[in-house]
Amino acid sequence: MMQFTCPHCGPRAQSEFIYERTVDSVVPLDAPSQEAMAKLFTRSNPRGVDDEIWRHTYGCRAWMILTRHRVTNEISGCRAIGPEALP
């Protein structure tokens, strides 16, 4: 079980979080059909670093983007998202 540092709550066990998807596979609202399906069904699965969307469901319920190495599970970044995180 991994440990993530929630931008709002600090270090917490992975069991408090729910994985959503990689940032790559987000379907933009205005994506044309082909692009949307490519996002959904053609995943890159890199052997290396990837940006993933997680939610601190059993904590503060906030969403965040974690940068995780898919082989070593090293977490190199975590940032808040949502209306409050808008520039």
């Binding site: 079980m1 991994m2 399906m37 469901t57 969403w63 209306p83 808008l86």
Partner: protein, 911 residues
């Protein structure tokens, strides 16, 4: 003196004995039968790596099978039974397999038992009877198992000299320390080899660790190393089969450590020679443990076979205890062992042994090329030392090959873990090559794998160590190859003509030692597997003693039987009350979201596939939601309560999923919108009143004209503010009343009084199902099964033509609206009752063209009706099919019709 029993016979043990020590103390050599050939086996080790002495400990639901006799401490009243023998340990019919061993090579089952499934069914019975270890208990475990989380700066695994020193250093440097030891006392190798570091040093060190705030857990095994330095510890609070003092048998710790220090030590290796598996043959260090720790000397005449110096300590221990050291067979050339004071034979490699079922009688060896033999009742072997690298490897570590020790030692790791002590620096040994008959030279004692089996696997083309493992079953079961893997690897490397490190290793997976299922389940066992959400109106329902039905995490009344009514009778009476008069039911579990803000309508038009923006204040409509791939995943209603305030409802079972979906869309996809979407599922309780007289009932309750169909008004019932939604799921004129959950009882009671006054009834989920099927309304999880598009469900006319909703682009794919898809239909029985879940076939033996998703019957007229999904069903109305459920032996002839059996024009909704 402690009393215990083994195979029904009473014995006594000394305080502190393991079961293995106690059995040896009582002169019991034969403890178990081997897995495949049922060979007589004794106690080979003094630790968790024991492959042979597996027993069932305890009785009833507390019984624990496959417990290593070396890993259970005797308590008063312990009951142990041997395994894998019939009718008893001394006379085991299964031992006939041993005679047939030439016919049971590696891969025997793969090679023999193929052919028809029918034949396999016959073989399987005998195979299952003959093979295997202990039996799982059939009764539930009466004990509790707990989980606990902990944090520390330094976790030290293993309380031998290295571990104790590391723990005390860290604790006294101000670190938060946890030290774990799988044994019930500290010291590890110091227990069998007390030198300058003796029992006094051990207890003084433990006291210093505790004084510095450190925590010491004995009888606790670090069983798994997971990500980010999380280590799971399995702690035995009671011995296997023992009644726990506080009801808690074991505890699973999740320890997140800043740093992990592994002081696991090493496990001694056996040697491969013919008949190396008899009772009386033990690992050298294990024998020394029995003599020095437990004061048990399990023989009089000892032969030692070794390739290292360590075994000489065993000779000394046995000599001190009064045993005769007959010979030390040292594989190393002279002058190794020359000054030991024992009779040492150099260049000596063991060949074979002789003995009886219970005991060893003689040992033979090849000494400098000549065969010699000795009478002996005890043989200690030391084939080298395998560092325990399991946790290091689970942490994602790598290994280095140590040529002097012929062993893998921990190298680097991507986690914060270090290995110290014997596991990092194993003792040097002399490399030996087995010279004995491979067919009787066991390398994996637990799985009865011999050198010949490895050779056979090689000959048959199994080159990779992973294939070898699966083909021969080497390294499986409770010991997970702790004794056997290196011997197999050595043989494989020899066959491949490469060095051992090039032959590769199998994966080290958790747990390090077996973990009971109860411990994994922990407090989540039995009814606590999922939490229960209780209705706000639970007490009022419970007082009527309804039949309950689980619905998601909730329980809702399924029906309220009167007297002796069956479920079906009660549900039919309740449904008739709704059709003829009025009924009321609790709909509190529906998902509910309050969406407000200037962009509320825009947000809802992203979530919902229907238009929302044009809805007037005080009006509502049916809506549905799509997944991104264009399939319907939920449905409900949306109501405009105020200029910028909406209430969205959706299904009970999909409530949590919908809450996550809405949050994702709002937070990730639409952070710029000025909208708030709040989950108010449990804030509001909901009461539905439905039936031809519902309007009159509600008018009395609220003292004003109720809203027309698909309208909403705020109102007051019994002094409590409520929201009335005029919506119908039953097909009758109906209203849903939403009230703050804490005030729900007042409103329910007022409604119930009024409903009963006019002769109405309460109804449950079963009646609701009858009503909605007859009306052709969808249910999420039934007709909306994740494979249906809006086209398939005839919802496409309601789609928002402007697009922009989630799933619009997915739905645009041609295949989602082409012909050949399953479409929603009604089914009317011509003969028989339509079985729910049955397949729809045009004729007997034909391929299914659809299925029945929900079946019921006409509430007033009777007659079986159903909803189903049928290929091109819209254009097949009038066709006759068979609804067949072969698994239940039920079928019915059905006519395909429109999916509405009641009030097709929808006139009963309206005023």
């Amino acid at each position: 003196m402690i009393n215990f029993s083994f195979d029904g016979k009473a014995y006594t043990a000394q305080e502190g004995d393991t079961l293995a020590a106690a059995l040896l103390r009582n002169g019991i050599g034969l403890v178990g039968r081997s897995f495949k050939y049922h060979r007589p086996r004794g106690i080979m080790t003094a630790g968790v790596e024991e492959p042979n002495a597996l027993v069932t400990v305890g009785e009833g639901g507390r019984a624990e099978p496959n417990t290593r006799a070396t890993d259970v401490f005797v308590y008063e009243g312990l009951v142990a039974r041997s395994q894998n023998r019939w009718p008893n340990l001394n006379f085991d019919l299964g031992a006939l397999f041993s005679l047939a061993s030439p016919m049971l090579p590696a891969g025997f089952y793969y090679k023999t038992f193929f052919g028809s499934a029918k034949r396999w069914m016959l073989y399987e019975y005998f195979i299952r009877k003959a093979a295997g270890l202990g039996n799982a208990p059939t009764q539930g475990d009466p004990d509790r198992f707990s989980h606990r989380a902990a944090f520390c700066d330094v976790l030290v695994v293993g309380a031998g000299p290295a571990g104790l020193q590391a723990a005390v250093d860290a604790a006294e440097a101000g670190k938060r320390v946890i030290l774990v030891e799988q044994d019930n006392i500290l010291g590890a190798s110091l227990i069998r080899d007390p030198q300058e570091l003796n029992a006094v040093w051990i207890s003084a060190t433990a006291a210093r660790i505790r004084a510095a705030g450190g925590r010491i857990l004995t009888r606790t095994t670090a069983s798994g190393y997971w990500e980010h330095d999380l280590v799971t510890l399995t702690q035995r609070l009671s011995e296997p089969g023992q009644i726990p003092v506080n009801g808690v048998a074991q505890r699973l710790w999740h320890v997140r450590a800043g740093q992990v220090i592994l002081a696991n030590g090493s496990i001694e290796r056996p040697m491969a020679f013919a008949h190396n598996d008899r009772p009386g043959i033990m690992l050298s260090q294990a024998l020394r443990s029995y003599v020095r720790r437990f004061g048990v000397v399990p023989g009089k005449r000892l032969v030692i076979a070794t390739n290292n110096d360590d075994a000489y300590k065993t000779a000394q221990a046995l000599k001190d205890a009064g045993a005769q050291i007959v010979a030390i067979l040292d594989a190393r050339p002279a002058p190794a062992g020359a000054n030991s004071g024992h009779r040492v034979y150099n260049d000596a490699v063991p060949l074979s042994t002789k003995g009886a079922r219970h005991c060893l009688k003689s040992v033979s060896a090849l000494v400098d090329g000549k065969e010699m033999d000795w009478d002996a009742d005890l043989l200690a072997v030391s084939g080298g030392f395998t560092p325990v690298v399991h946790l290091h490897m689970q942490a994602g570590g790598t290994l280095d090959w140590n040529e002097d020790a012929q062993a893998f030692i921990p190298a680097s790791s991507r986690q914060n873990v270090t290995t110290i002590g014997g596991a990092a620096e194993p003792q040097p040994i002399f490399k030996m090559v087995p010279v004995s008959k491979p067919k009787k030279s066991f390398i994996d004692f637990q799985n009865d794998v011999t050198l010949a089996d490895v050779d056979l696997a090689w000959a048959e083309g199994y080159r990779s160590v992973e294939h070898l493992k699966r083909y021969t079953t080497l390294g499986m079961a409770t010991d997970q190859g702790k004794l056997s893997n290196m011997a197999a690897l050595g043989r494989l490397a020899e066959k491949q003509g490469v060095a051992i490190p090039e032959a590769g290793l199998t994966t080290f997976r958790p747990p390090y030692t077996p973990v009971t299922m109860g411990l994994i389940a922990g407090a989540g066992a039995k009814d606590a597997g999922a939490h229960v959400r209780r209705l706000a109106l639970y007490d009022l329902h419970a007082a009527k003693n309804p039949i309950w039905q689980p619905l998601g995490y909730w329980f809702r009344p399924r029906a309220y039987p009167n007297g002796d009514e069956t479920l079906a009778q009660a549900a039919l009476r309740e449904a008739k009350a709704v059709r003829n008069n009025v009924g009321m039911t609790d709909v509190s579990t529906l998902a509910k979201f309050e969406v407000s803000g200037p962009d509320a309508a825009a947000f809802l038009e992203i979530i919902c596939a229907t238009t929302v923006g044009k809805l007037a204040v005080g009006r509502g409509r049916y809506t549905f939601m799509l997944r991104e791939d264009g399939f319907v995943f939920d449905d409900g209603t949306v109501w405009r309560l105020d200029e910028n305030r909406y209430l969205l409802t959706s299904s009970t079972g999909g409530a949590d999923r919908m809450a996550t979906h809405i949050s994702y869309v709002r937070q990730y996809l639409c952070p710029h919108l000025r909208v708030s979407a709040v989950n108010v599922q449990e804030h509001y309780a909901g009461i539905a009143i439905a039936g031809p007289t519902a309007k009159a009932v509600l008018a009395t309750l609220i003292g004003e004209e109720p809203p027309r169909h698909m309208s909403t008004v705020p109102a007051v019932i019994a002094g409590v503010p409520v929201i009335i939604l005029a919506a119908s799921y039953s097909g009758e004129r109906a209203f849903e009343i939403y009230v703050t959950a804490s005030d729900a009882a007042t409103v329910w009671t007022a409604c119930e009084t009024q409903v009963m006054t006019v002769g109405g009834a309460l109804y449950g989920l079963e009646a609701m199902e009858f009503l909605r099927i007859e009306k052709g309304h969808l249910v999420v999880g039934g007709e909306v099964d994740g494979r249906m598009t809006p086209y398939d469900l005839a919802l496409d006319k309601m789609l928002n033509k402007a697009g922009g909703y989630i799933g619009a682009s997915g739905l645009a794919r041609p295949a989602l609206s082409e012909t050949g898809r399953r479409q929603l239909v009604g089914l009317e029985a011509i003969a028989g009752d339509i079985p729910e879940g049955s397949m729809l076939i045009p004729s007997e033996g034909a391929s299914p063209q659809g299925h029945v998703s929900a079946a019921a019957f006409r509430i007033i007229e009777g007659g079986s009706v159903a909803l189903g999904q049928l290929v091109d069903g819209f254009s097949r109305h009038g066709e006759v099919l068979i609804a067949s459920s072969p698994t239940r032996g039920q079928k019915a002839r059905v006519r395909v019709v429109a999916p509405h059996f009641y009030d097709t024009a929808g006139e009963r909704y309206r005023d």
